[in-house]
């Protein structure tokens, strides 16, 4: 093959990597690449309205397909606007390649127009990054970037390409035989560790599976193997926010989500278990509660592809480093070949205990005939869409937790949310990315009124590409989770958590050229949701919910899994005194 320009190499490399969609925004330092985009048809470019939107759209795209999300932005502000999404992808282990334009090589370091130290700024918020100084390195670096983003624990990779490199001519190399010389993460586990794990599980009287986003990232096979293992052993299973859908919510062994707003039964099972099997999760502080009271009596097995996750916050007894699907495959094989089994009697007693906890009905809330309770809104949304091919994204806050509690996921890759970074404004652009990958599916962003305004401009993107995303806003006029913490921990002083002026979301929808729907009464909710579902255009649904509803159950600050605050303990009148003074200081 003859020589190509850097910009041609970029498009050729993307096509050779199987990239179909790129989310981006043009600017001076990437114009040569945009000129190439104009002259080809293999890679489709989706023009967003803000670079943060491009990164979240790429995340939604990646998480709903298992493929690598691709972003293209310009230098300076283009790159800095992408930083939030890169950090989000790093914390949630989302594979993403972000190409950034850069000022010409000879101007780097000169404080040139729209120059920033992109590799410096993005070094701590990417899995790896590159500055391409020679066009002859460009093709190799691009293929390497995809390799690094998608292998091992996935993550975002930035490739910073100066404008002169985009113009310069150089040689192209294909993606074949690009093997990274140093980065070769372990996917097959040590057999000895798997054997020890299997033997420990077989001794359990009160086992629990605690699964996370690693199961989703490992692919559909991992979810299938997880279900097989649960069926084989009949043990209870809970999941983090990021892992929802790996095991079906309708499965008989399902305990619901665990953690700060997880179910009572899941957290109690975690606290009282004698063997915990952590699969692709990382003992996040929102999961563990107070660390020295975290599951004090259990032996712990930790399956993770990233050795640095092992023993980071919680000491485990048997670490198994490897890809979840590989480990589960080996674990099931060992389990069967050694004819291992759990103690039936003990397991029966354990399930009886769990049923007792379940009977507390921890997600119960006060129904109301006059105002829509937010929990009820999510319940109805689930009930009316459960037969459909549905994908859910969320923003961050109370609505996110209600979505996790009340929407029930049967399959992996159906649930896109910002877990690690907690990025308000994630859900709308993520829905755009998901809808791009699944044009005929029903894609719903369960949103809050505050979060959704952070990236509202992407409705314009949805309209431009005729992406019929449904933005279902639980509108309570508050930053609800901020207010909840102020009520619980700061003497009910609601400092700056009330939005005095919100736009009329129905009129806003019309201004964007999409459809606005409003529901204010429980009686009209079902009909309005049905109308939203059948609308073949983007919809903003303004669901006016009870303003002061709070999200329970909750593990308050400084408490352990077995010290949950239940909804019935804290009606709105006494919410200010639910946590003692000592607890309040310590968040």
């Amino acid at each position: 093959m003859g020589e190509m320009t850097g910009a041609e190499i970029v498009l050729k490399a993307l096509a050779d990597q199987g990239v179909e969609h790129v989310f981006g925004y043009p600017g001076g330092a990437v114009l040569p690449i945009y000129d190439e985009i104009f002259q080809q048809e293999k890679v489709k470019h989706i023009l967003v309205r803000h670079e943060q939107g491009a990164t979240h759209a790429a995340e939604g795209y990646a998480r709903s397909t298992g493929k690598c999300g691709v972003v293209l932005v310009t230098s300076g502000p283009g790159a800095t606007n992408a930083v939030t999404g890169l950090t989000d992808a790093l914390l949630d282990s989302i594979p993403m390649v972000c190409l950034t334009g850069q000022v010409p090589t000879h101007l780097i370091g000169n404080d040139a127009f729209q120059e920033c130290d992109t590799v410096g700024i993005t070094r701590p918020c990417t899995k790896h990054n590159y500055l391409v100084k020679d066009v002859n390195d460009l093709a190799r670096i691009l293929h390497e970037a995809f390799y690094v983003a998608t292998h091992g624990r996935p993550g975002p990779v930035v490739v910073d390409i100066p404008k002169d490199v985009q113009f310069a001519k150089g040689r192209y190399v294909g993606p074949k035989n690009i093997e990274h010389k140093t980065y070769r993460p372990r996917v097959k586990p040590e057999q000895e560790a798997v054997r020890r794990a299997a033997e420990l599980i077989a001794t359990a009287k009160r086992p629990v599976l605690y699964t996370g986003g690693g199961v989703i990232n490992s692919g559909v096979t991992a979810s299938k193997l997880l279900r097989d293992f649960v069926a084989l052993t009949n043990m209870p299973i809970t999941s983090t926010l990021m892992g929802l859908g790996a095991y079906p919510a309708s499965g008989k062994n399902w305990l619901g989500m665990l953690g700060m707003h997880g179910t009572y039964e899941a957290n109690m099972a975690m606290h009282d278990c004698d063997v915990m099997i952590c699969v692709g999760a990382r003992f996040d502080d929102r999961i563990t509660g107070r660390l020295n009271a975290f599951s004090p009596g259990s032996k712990k097995i930790h399956i993770d592809i990233d050795p640095s996750s092992i023993n980071k916050t919680v000491r485990v007894d048997i670490p198994v480093v490897g890809d979840v699907a590989h480990v589960l495959e080996d674990l099931i094989r060992v389990w069967k070949s050694k004819s291992l089994a759990l103690d039936k009697k003990a397991l029966e007693a354990w399930w009886k205990q769990i049923e007792h906890w379940k009977a507390r009905d921890c997600l119960r809330y006060r129904k109301n005939a006059d105002v829509i309770m937010p929990q009820y809104a999510v319940e109805r949304l689930y009930a009316l869409t459960r037969e459909k091919d549905v994908y859910i994204t969320t923003e961050v806050g109370q609505h996110q937790m209600w979505a996790a509690q009340f929407f029930r996921f049967e399959e992996p890759h159906r649930w896109m949310t910002s877990g690690g970074l907690g990025t308000m404004g994630y859900g709308l652009p993520a829905a755009v990315g998901v809808q791009m990958a699944h044009p005929t599916s029903l894609v719903i962003d369960i949103a809050g009124d505050a979060s959704v305004l952070m990236t509202m401009q992407e409705m314009s993107t949805a309209v431009q590409y005729r992406l019929p995303v449904k933005i279902f806003i639980l509108n309570n006029q508050y930053m609800g989770m901020v207010r909840q913490w102020q009520q619980l921990l700061h003497g009910n002083r609601l400092s700056e958590s009330y939005t005095e002026a919100l736009p009329d979301f129905v009129k806003l929808a019309e201004a964007y050229g999409c459809v606005g729907i409003r529901a204010s009464k429980p009686a009209e909710l079902d009909q309005a949701i049905r109308e939203m579902i059948k609308t073949p255009h983007p919809v903003i649904f303004d669901c006016r919910v009870a303003n002061l509803a709070n999200c329970f159950p909750m593990i308050p600050s400084g408490k352990a899994h077995n010290e949950m605050l239940m909804g019935e303990d804290v009606p709105d009148e006494v919410v200010g005194s639910a946590i003692d003074a000592k607890g309040r200081q310590l968040v």
Partner: protein, 186 residues
């Protein structure tokens, strides 16, 4: 099970200050590419680890491979974290904990400028001989000594020079290598 960690009463966890810290010397083989040192240093500052000493130089020119020696202090679990965090960085070939290997040799070099005359000057020279420090520059009123050895030997020599007219010190930081026929994986 997690008795090594004390609760702070917060949803955020803060490690107990009482935990015993250890000093470890790590050897890290990396690709000598732009920014690799910033990556390593950024890891330490970003995650709140300590760097007591850091040396870096290209050791295999044709392969563009550098060797970094880091002396760091932390609890055993932090040291393990540091090793794992270093090991998962893309340009890192391998990481070895020379303190755990146990039979490693560590050295550093210092240049020590001492000014003085008369009895102090003679005493400085006498001590330098005892420590096998070489005189690499001499004037009528000052010396520069070059001393090589383990950190504590260098420390000791420098502290002895203080009353004898110590002016300034330049130290390379620690370089380390394990004994035996085996080398680190590149």
């Amino acid at each position: 099970m997690n008795a090594h960690q004390t609760g702070t009463g917060s949803a955020y966890f803060i490690e107990s200050a009482k935990a015993v810290t250890e000093t470890h010397t790590l050897s890290v083989i990396v690709d000598n590419e732009p920014g690799v040192l910033a990556r390593v240093i950024g890891l330490f500052s970003g995650r709140g680890y300590n760097i007591d000493s850091l040396t870096v130089s290209e050791t295999q020119h044709e392969k563009h491979v550098s060797r970094i020696t880091i002396v760091t202090t932390g609890t055993p679990s932090v040291i393990t974290q540091i090793i794992h965090q270093l090991d998962r960085m893309v340009p890192v070939h391998s990481v070895a904990d020379l303190t755990v290997i146990g039979n490693a040799i560590t050295r550093e070099l210092a240049m020590v400028k001492v000014a003085g005359t008369g009895e102090k000057r003679v005493e400085a020279l006498r001590l330098a001989e005892a420590f096998r420090a070489r005189v690499i520059d001499a004037g009528t009123a000052s010396f520069i000594f070059e001393i090589t050895g383990k950190t504590d030997k260098v420390d000791q020599f420098i502290s002895l020079m203080v009353p004898l007219g110590l002016v300034e010190v330049a130290r390379t930081g620690v370089a380390g290598i394990a004994r035996g026929a085996e080398g680190m994986k590149v």
